[in-house]
């Protein structure tokens, strides 16, 4: 979903950077607060960032005959809330922009907006809604991560369609074109990401019950029941 360096007109690049900046600044504050209040959560924060690092480096073949990669942002959004994920996602995007020429500095704002802001919020929203309506933990985790992944690529398609409307069919025509490249390719990958996130969450339920309870992922005293349900 990375929009390549220089591939957004300057006005668009600036607008997306301006839209992303408050979220990232708010995220940095939330992250510092979390680390100060719970120094022991640093380790799990690192693991959540690491999950994004691994998944966004994996280019996987897809049904459209092209390759794309998952985002890995659903897990951190579910564990630590979307503002903190905005920071972890931005770090990953910066690494790729600076060292891999994948994405870019001028397009960082737009890429942060899709991967580190909309994806985590959409994924967390779906997760929280499902949990509140009584869905099993792992179903909510799967659909949350799936949504975080797919929504990221839909936003990228919209961003490109806005910047490059089709001369004949306008923004809608361009959206169909970019959506065909990104969203369709991403569909099976979003399923993969959902499954991998469920896998990691299962390992966390086994290894870090106390931490998950503190973060509100497992209910107080309900950890045993949750573990049995999964």
């Amino acid at each position: 979903m990375h929009i390549a360096e220089g591939f957004l007109p300057p006005v668009h690049a600036a607008a997306w950077a301006a839209a992303s900046a408050p979220f990232v600044i708010h995220g940095v504050r939330a992250l510092t607060r979390e680390v100060r209040a719970n120094p022991e959560s640093t380790l799990l924060l690192g693991a959540s960032g690491a999950f994004t690092f691994v998944l966004s480096a994996l280019k996987i073949p897809s049904v459209t005959g092209s390759c794309s990669h998952p985002t890995g942002t659903g897990l951190g959004a579910i564990l630590f809330r979307p503002p903190i994920m905005a920071v972890l996602g931005t770090i990953t995007l910066l690494f790729q922009a600076l060292l891999l020429a994948h994405g870019g500095l001028t397009t960082l704002g737009a890429n942060v907006f899709s991967l580190a802001i909309v994806g985590p919020w959409a994924g967390f929203g779906v997760y929280a809604l499902l949990r509140r309506s009584g869905a099993p933990l792992m179903v909510a985790v799967f659909l949350g991560a799936f949504t975080a992944d797919l929504s990221t690529y839909c936003v990228t398609s919209v961003q490109l369609a806005l910047a490059f409307p089709d001369p004949g069919s306008g923004v809608v025509g361009a959206l169909a074109k970019f959506g065909g490249i990104f969203a369709v390719t991403q569909f099976p990958l979003a399923i993969s990401e959902g499954l991998l996130t469920v896998l990691v969450m299962r390992l966390l339920v086994q290894s870090s019950k106390g931490e998950l309870t503190r973060l509100g992922v497992l209910l107080q005293g309900g950890a045993k029941k949750e573990a049995a349900v999964r």
Partner: protein
């Protein structure tokens, strides 16, 4: 294999199948260059829609070859996987350590209890003759 491990393996198997099936079924055969990156395809689409568009900024650093680029991608994945493995390894070690400590505490507690009983009996035994001596 425990039920837990079976489910985890199944999850991984589905992910692997989702990645391998497009290759095995030849879903990229209609393309000149099958299985290129979607990001690159988007760039091509942009140049189709807006042939006059010129990227106005170039990356500060670009890996000099495809090999170096894939090395850096592998590095990224390895860093992430390393941190994840460290996390789960540490957790597992801590849990095992706690379990062992709990088991040991349990044993020393009973031994102490017995020792305390024996000590009480001892002192009672020695106190008696002392009392008798007095």
């Amino acid at each position: 294999m425990s039920r837990n491990a079976k489910i985890n393996t199944l999850l991984l198997a589905i992910v692997a199948a989702l990645a391998v099936l497009p290759l095995a079924l030849g879903l990229g055969d209609h393309k000149e260059e099958p299985f290129t990156g979607a990001d690159g395809e988007a760039e091509t689409a942009i140049t189709e829609i807006a042939p006059d568009y010129e990227p106005w900024f170039a990356p500060l650093y670009e890996p000099p070859s495809g090999e170096v680029e894939s090395a850096l991608f592998a590095l990224q994945a390895a860093l992430g996987a390393g941190v994840l493995a460290y996390y789960f390894g540490l957790r597992r070690g801590r849990r095992q350590g706690e379990a062992r400590a709990a088991a040991r505490d349990g044993r020393t507690a009973t031994r102490d209890g017995r020792a305390a009983d024996a000590g009480a009996a001892d002192s009672a035994g020695t106190a008696d003759p002392a009392g008798a001596g007095a």
